[in-house]
Symmetry: C2
């Protein structure tokens, strides 16, 4: 096996090449975006999706340099090591195994006598069996009524991914799902007011079993049931847990069932583990969840391609580095032309910013280059009537990630003025890509569009479970590659600790700090 | 009256002063954030709110320079001109009168024989009367059932503001409200599937009466009613319009009633006009809407203060300029510690980015300084478990706008581990402000927090309608002041036009463009 080197990218040859190329300024898109170039600038991305990068305004010599960058930073070698169980989350001394929850890549990993692939797979099977029992009515609520609603209680990675995926497929739901995350009591009360406790199954999701927000909100749910006055209603028959085998929730009599994850599945990468598996298998049935995993596995396989022009997440990652470190763009907008993906940008926001918002490399040394960008976004066409003004005519350039589908997800549509709503949606998507790239001159400078705004597009026929799984894994892998490129650890999150410590200090009422005290007592 | 000069800020004295101050680097917050300084760094902001800027890390000499900046750019003079009907939206040759929808500031404005204050007021009164009739049952659905649901169909400014305000006060609702905005048919179908057409009142909101998304979605609603098979269901008895007096919707027989706005109310500034007034008066009753207007009017009055230390929106605006133009921060995060404000960041995103995302000054001359930042945000504590990692430890500094309240909005709460959820929420808020500002050293560089991350806080006892109105107007006025400071027109949005034109070109099937065609036919 080839030796793997973890070095900062500013020490390698292609970094200087890219610096030189970029110093001439970004390309004029009018010269780059020939129909011939755009039409051949795509890569199959799994789950029926295609990644189009022709409107990124990247010239062939930049692509060549990015291919060298990928090779010099040994992206594929590092990805293979990760798949094969090397400790890639160095700070926490952990393997990174979310890929193992979906598919057969990499070697069998046996640790402490436990085969981890079998472990994740067995949890999926147990969830599938349980979901089957709930759907058949073999498992019912404590008052004898069948469950029709599932409420996931979790925060961060235990909330954003599963919620975004649920909303994306909602028309296929056989049980409706709701989510409680915020410690703000208004969040819990609002959801708890909207459900029938007799027919609701709650899922507590916390790896450690100690997440303050989640335990608090579970208590809220329990209290609501107890105070409902419904005879025979037993909270413990309405609650399951997704947690680690060593957590206080594991096998607790307060829960009907427990399903397990472990330390090798990071919160934001846990959507394809039991964290997403329980709620999605209950909401849609295990077959649908399994299709989502298949789509993700396809994307994972494509990410193994050495050739950057055949590896969509690697190409996406490298172009992102070019935009961030050489063109100096500090943000990225995610713009799905699909209402079903309404919360997908919020999930990507966590996935990207929590993974790569780091200032030290994997050895803890400070960096002298920028890392992860700020990610934000809203569905099109809504965004067009909102913040696109700045994207088109603001003083900063924001790279854009469009997502679109030929067909809508619900079959209903209407022809008005000669086109369906879906056609209007897609006409707007195409129009925006071209408007951002090419702009338009005008004698009134206020109506002038400079153009040269880069965008890529992930496109599919329809947002199926397979497409959704591939979409998710594409971004997970892109972010992983960017972490390798920057030589950082994308799998820890030490930056969230200080706030937790100070909040506990306040609530424990210990030694007073005048500033904490001032803001707390307002 | 003193002469008002519209000049670029880089031509004035305080700009150079600020440049010199900032060139020494931002302040070390440890030296600035003495408890004494922080405790006195606040300004009353209307509606019971207070704006705290002590954790911005701004030194007293910067505040002095910002006060000079405000004076040199004649912020109060320009605001007074705007209130008194000067043409401030120069590109479109229009007055800017959203302040007139709430309160008695400025002179009476009579144009073409029409008193505009009376006009806006009369629309409010007509809406209040109509809402009263709906609530009393005097106006019922076409099948004789009382209305219990209102669905607003609009996009951009006709959607984001009213939606954010509705969600913020939802527990007070007497009729539930839903919103359809996206042209994606999945958006309309999902909402239309969830309502009972017999008891639903639709509001079409489009100033021009020609917004493609809105007309399409109104047709969807009409079609759903027609195809419902419910005998006697008459769509025109379930639809009202908010539009301009000259629009095709005005007085159309397809609508039960029409309420009017005009060209002097910009879409993103229209929440306090009939655009927000109809849906909010129906959802909450006219008294609640009126309280919201009172809160906004209070904030508008406070924005007239010459002294920057007594003018919260002016202080906020000037600090934003310091951060954007002198410290070089291109983004701002809005972080409400209140689940009720879940969509308020999305509204601010439009308000700010569509207003100030401009590259030419009000005379159409290109600028050589940055204008509006990218705005994004999610409610705390959710964000803490998501993108805060980057905010704490990323390579870029993002200024933060916290919002918080002593009490939750729904009265229900629970004490767990010695504190209520609301106390936990507020402990987290206080902890974050201090963590961002002061950071923490650690021998492990991966656990080090550099601190010096600026934040401000808008705080109130409770998110009442008055507080919400003041919050809204605070940001509207802040953004207006920033537009004056940058010498740009904050009230047009030419940047949204090109996309519309190209989308129409595709849909009309005219002369083919190979790139448009390629992306449209994927």
């Amino acid at each position: 096996m080839k030796k793997i080197n973890f070095i900062n990218p500013d020490k390698i040859k292609s970094w200087s090449t890219l610096k030189k190329t970029a110093s001439k300024g970004g390309a004029d898109f009018k010269n780059v975006l020939t129909p011939e170039f755009v039409k051949k600038s795509f890569i199959e991305a799994g789950g029926g999706l295609t990644y189009y990068y022709g409107a990124k305004g990247i010239t062939p010599d930049v692509i060549t340099a990015l291919a060298e960058l990928a090779e010099e930073q040994q992206l594929i070698g590092k990805y293979r090591r990760l798949l094969n169980g090397e400790i890639m989350n160095t700070g926490e001394n952990r393997m990174v195994l979310h890929h193992l929850t979906r598919g057969r890549l990499g070697e069998d990993l046996v640790r402490d006598g436990k085969n981890l692939r079998s472990f994740y797979l067995s949890q999926q099977e147990k969830i599938a069996e349980f979901a089957g029992q709930v759907h058949s009515g073999a498992v019912k609520g404590s008052t004898g009524k069948p469950f029709d609603t599932v409420v996931q209680i979790g925060i961060g990675g235990s909330d954003l991914g599963p919620r975004a995926l649920y909303l994306a497929l909602e028309p296929m739901a056989v049980m409706k799902a709701r989510f409680i995350s915020n410690v703000d009591p208004d969040d819990a009360v609002s959801v708890l007011n909207s459900i029938n406790p007799e027919t609701t199954l709650f899922i507590a999701v916390s790896k450690s079993g100690t997440t303050q927000e989640t335990l608090t909100n579970m208590e809220f749910a329990r209290e609501t049931m107890k105070s409902s006055g419904i005879p025979g209603l037993e909270p413990s028959k309405h609650m399951i847990a997704v947690t680690s085998e060593t957590s206080p929730l594991a096998g607790s009599p307060d829960y009907l069932r427990s399903f397990y994850i472990d330390d090798f599945i990071g919160g934001r990468y846990s959507s394809t583990s039991a964290v997403g598996g329980a709620v999605l298998s209950l909401a849609f049935g295990p077959e649908t969840f399994s299709s989502l995993l298949q789509g993700a596995a396809e994307a994972d396989r494509l990410a193994l391609e050495d050739d950057i022009t055949k590896n969509p997440s690697m190409m996406d990652a490298c172009i992102g580095i070019y935009e961030r470190n050489f063109l100096g763009y500090p943000m990225t907008a995610v713009l799905p032309y699909s209402q079903a993906l309404q919360r997908f940008p919020a999930h990507l926001q966590q996935l990207d910013m929590e993974s790569n918002g780091k200032s030290v490399n994997r050895f803890g040394e400070p960096l002298n280059y920028q890392t992860g960008p700020v990610v934000f976004g809203e569905p099109g066409t809504n965004g067009q009537h909102s913040f696109y003004q700045l994207l088109h005519q603001g003083t900063d350039i924001v790279p854009l990630q469009f997502i679109g589908f030929t067909e809508s997800q619900r079959s209903k549509d209407l022809t008005i003025d000669g086109s369906t709503s879906q056609e209007k949606l897609n006409a707007n998507l195409a129009a925006q890509i071209v408007a951002f790239a090419l702009g338009k001159d005008d004698e009134n400078p206020n109506k002038r569009f400079a153009g040269n705004r880069p965008s890529s597009l992930i496109h599919g026929k329809k947002l199926t479970p397979e497409a959704l799984g591939a979409l998710l894994a594409h971004f997970e892998n892109k972010i992983m590659f960017q972490g390798f490129l920057w030589n950082i650890n994308s799998f820890d999150q030490e930056g969230v600790q200080l706030g937790k410590v100070l909040a506990k200090k306040i609530l424990s009422g210990g030694e007073a700090d005048p500033l904490l005290d001032f803001f707390y007592r307002l």
